[in-house]
Amino acid sequence: MASRNSLQTPECQTTYTRIGSCFAPRATPKSCNIARIAPILSRQVSGEEEENIKALLNKTWHVFGLSPLYNFERKSSAFQRYSKSLSSALEAESHKGCFVDNDVPGSVEIGGIRGLTVNIGDQNAVGIFVRGKNRKAEDAMVYTALFCCVNLQFCPIPKDLQASFKYFPIMLASGPVAIMNSINNWLESQFDCRVTKLKFSSNDLLWMASLWSAYTPVPKSRPLELVYAVPQECEGLSKITYRMAAADAKRLLDIVHPDDSDELTEEEVQAYFDALESHLCYMFHAKLGTMYLRTVGNSIAYVSTDGKIKLFSMDYVFNVLAHLTQLSVERFTGTSLQTLPFSQNE
């Protein structure tokens, strides 16, 4: 089997080692389950719940990590109170002139969203919807945010505090950055929490790409896409986009990963990327191992290092969300503090 060592001629090893991915401390556990996660009591997915899941698809979401929310209540009266408070906060901001030349927020609606949980311990999702005027002064939905908690394996809040804290590891938000910032500020002051952009390292992307390739490709599905950023000392070239047909990517994965196992191990992920990159090296002699992996995507989802995600597949929404939840919890509990998102290393 072609290993990375065979690709790197000795001359290159003195100058470069793989950046931020294979030799970096692990951010993800040694292996991951690739079995499909179905929604809770999957036979009873109601129409409304299906709509809620569908609303997640084909949109670009910014992923944020949330720390536990203090004194967050799940009552409709509380939701009404929050929406009033948030709309007045937004109005104050727009008086300050924060939303000039942009979408202007108007009414706010906060409420629970059903159908986005997979096990009993998961909190039901909560959504923030802001209607307002868009650039053409038409009435439109200008901002959406969802607090999710999908397949949470372990709750990091100590037992005695669990009554006063609610934990949603991830928040998906879509809308203009100005509104996003003011809502994040409001959340931080209202619930005494911290909202941070969930940035992914190259290593995280490596894992996601491999996990999602493992799901059998539908014929004619989107190709596996890897976007590599070329380091700055190589002037003139900024990125290399590498797309491989989904079926061919699966053929490569089948070699490194035996069919009967549901676990994908780190060695397999590494071998899979070695195989992908060595094919490009064979075609163009370029060593992708020396570059940064910026974006990965296939028919399940597109993810980039700056914490943006786009979901495509209804069937695997929960797998993706569960993976994000897991990453966010890891960041929150600090089990993987040593791996910073690589964009900060530049």
Partner: protein, 360 residues
Amino acid sequence: MEVDILKRCFGKCKTSDIFSVLKKWSFLSSADISHLESAETIKGPKRNLVGLIADICSRRDNFNIESVGELDLICVQMNPSKCIWSCYQLEESNDEDEAFDPVQLKQKLGKHLRLCFDPKSSVSTVLHNGAVWMKLYIPQQRNQKYQAPRSVYLIHYLHTPLILMTGLKASIKEFLFQALLNCFNCKKLLEMKLTGRQVDSLKELALNRWCQGDFSKFRYEQVQRRPLSEILPRKRKVDESEEELDPNITCENEGMKKRRKEMLDKVFGTNTQPVLEKLDFKVRVRYKDAKNFGIADPDVPFTCEVKFEGPSVIEGIRNLGRCGMAKLPLPPHLTRITSLAKNHFVLTDKGELDSKHKSK
């Protein structure tokens, strides 16, 4: 509509550029321009100045869509990199004396255009840097308003078969090509699969394809003003920065660096490479050593698409080799881009290509 186009053109320029554009346009008399320059408006916002210019222009009789088109062309000439240009090649020309006069060309092309499209279609031409720049505007029959996407910019280099064209709608493509063929008296308009933003580089690539790479130094010698004097090759920035390093630092692998540089200079030459923003490869090749690797159906090729993007890709690929991010020697489809004069490629295995030819 004319005023609308005029405002649009000036909207794209900087305020400081407006007067130089006006002088180049030579539609307004110098008296008008000096009147504008002295006016109070020059201190005010750009909108007022443009409004004043529009006022003066619309009072003229010969202020029509063609003369505004010339203004638009001058604005495009100032920033040609705002459009994406694709190269086309005229083939099998029958006519020895093509129309080199821009006015003649304008009338000829206008005649052919009006045959195929709306009679209100217009052509404007400006001569610039040895090339005729043309703007074709093909309105939709029902629509009275100006629609920017329905205009096409063309650059034709005189005495060469090269035409650069901005993106155009598929619906008008066929007829427009026919009109161009009739106008230039040719039988074929060949798409060269070469696109980019830098007009000069595209021209360089398309016209001088056999003296690129290492040979380019001979051509630059010719172009230089004093061809008989000794030629000092233009030094590349990189070399200078390397020389400036601290003398106490010695490079461990200097020999290898030198070897690499020699190999690259051999294929790319020492000059700065022409600028392209994108290289696009569609590849269908078998996996290397597929049988030993254990891939199912080793003979079935892998379908891939690889894109190289950046401010200057050919230069970037050379740097890739220089920085050790690529194995040397580079494959011919990366080193010979300049002489192939293409940036969209389809690569297949050698055997595959043969079998396709046989089946044909």
